[in-house]
Amino acid sequence: MNNVVPELVQKFLDGDNRAFEELVHRFRKKIYSVAYQALGNHLDADEVVQETFVRIYNKRKELKDVRYFTSFIIRIATNYSIDLLRKKKFQSALPDDTTSLPGNIQIDLSKRVSTPDDELARKEIMEEIEQALAQLPPRQRLTAILHDIEGYTKAEIARSFDCPEATVRSNLHIARNKLKKILTQQQTAKRSKK
């Protein structure tokens, strides 16, 4: 099937089960990716993928506009991911105060990635970032994942979270600032060990 997504969705809503299977094929890896970044392990990501499509199938009548299927599926996947995160108490104990950033301690991330030959260093940075992401509260974490990692627009994220774009923007800015703060702290801790 070479249909565009809205056409496929319409066929699915009209009862064409092959269209549903095609949607599973098209979106399964995207959902897995978001869930894996949010939850940090394969088993939970697998659960999110399966449950998301089961819910999509069962809640298909709730989809009012076929153009917004991406937001619809992301909403279901992120809501389920957030539920799992809360159940597993992955939530960060990071203080809400982000104004007390240690201004004199800075890391020059761009300089660090300007050495592409040093694959080990790059891998370390990536691990640090993933650890830092894991410390964010669920909604901020998912906003950063969807926008900066997966490349969804703020409008798509706003529709998925059923909130104004301004809220997405605010969550994203807070998430990035917290990530900077956590990475700075990690960097400081590393330096003090040496």
Binding site: V24, D108, L109, S110, M126
Partner: protein
């Protein structure tokens, strides 16, 4: 713009969400201000790094199996499901015929109750007062509502349950005992 204002707009700047004039103004400022430039380098570097994160996808065999599971939990389940008769739909579709049958069932029960010594008038009064709309009851529910046990011997209860179960056989697919629907109007 001041450094404070520039740094407030840095997120929008790196996301290319500002108008051309503001984008240019900030770019000029960053060329001249080392502090703001440093803040931009950090933020832009972070965004670039996040953009480089790629999830390692599972194997194709995993996806085949997962897709099969998803289809089994959705489409396949729908197609293989054993149809269950819905009394509510039955009543809607064949309202008159169904009501007639209900009246006959209700009458049978009333007769039964009379025959086993239970005061049927008190039963109908309770229906009309407490549940003016559709009632659904089973032997168990009747017992709960009207404390049949206190009015009936074990033998009588057994007979009642037997009739209850035999009536249910007319509705294949319904689990458990017969669910009888009557309305206040039917009873009155």
């Amino acid at each position: 713009m001041t450094c404070f204002n520039i740094q407030k707009l840095l997120h929008e700047y790196i996301d290319n969400e500002l108008d051309q004039f503001q984008q240019a103004e900030i770019a000029d400022h960053l060329d001249q201000c080392s502090e703001c430039h440093e803040a931009w380098v950090e933020l832009n570097g972070l965004k670039n790094l996040l953009g480089q994160i790629k999830t390692q996808q599972p194997s194709e065999s995993y996806w085949e199996e997962t897709t099969r599971l998803i289809m089994a939990k959705t489409v396949d389940l729908d197609e293989n499901i054993i149809p269950v008769i819905s009394l509510h739909e039955e009543e809607t579709d064949k309202k008159t015929a169904f009501r007639r049958s209900l009246l006959s069932v209700a009458a049978s029960i009333a007769l039964l109750l009379v025959s086993i010594g239970l005061n049927s008038s008190s039963l109908t009064t309770k229906f009309a007062q407490n549940q003016p709309e559709a009632l659904v009851f089973t032997t168990y529910e009747l017992n709960q509502r009207f404390d049949l046990k206190s009015h009936m011997t074990d033998d009588q209860l057994a007979k009642f349950a037997l009739i209850d179960n035999s009536l249910s056989m007319g509705f294949p697919g319904l689990p458990g005992g017969l669910i009888i629907t009557v309305t206040g109007d039917d009873i009155n």
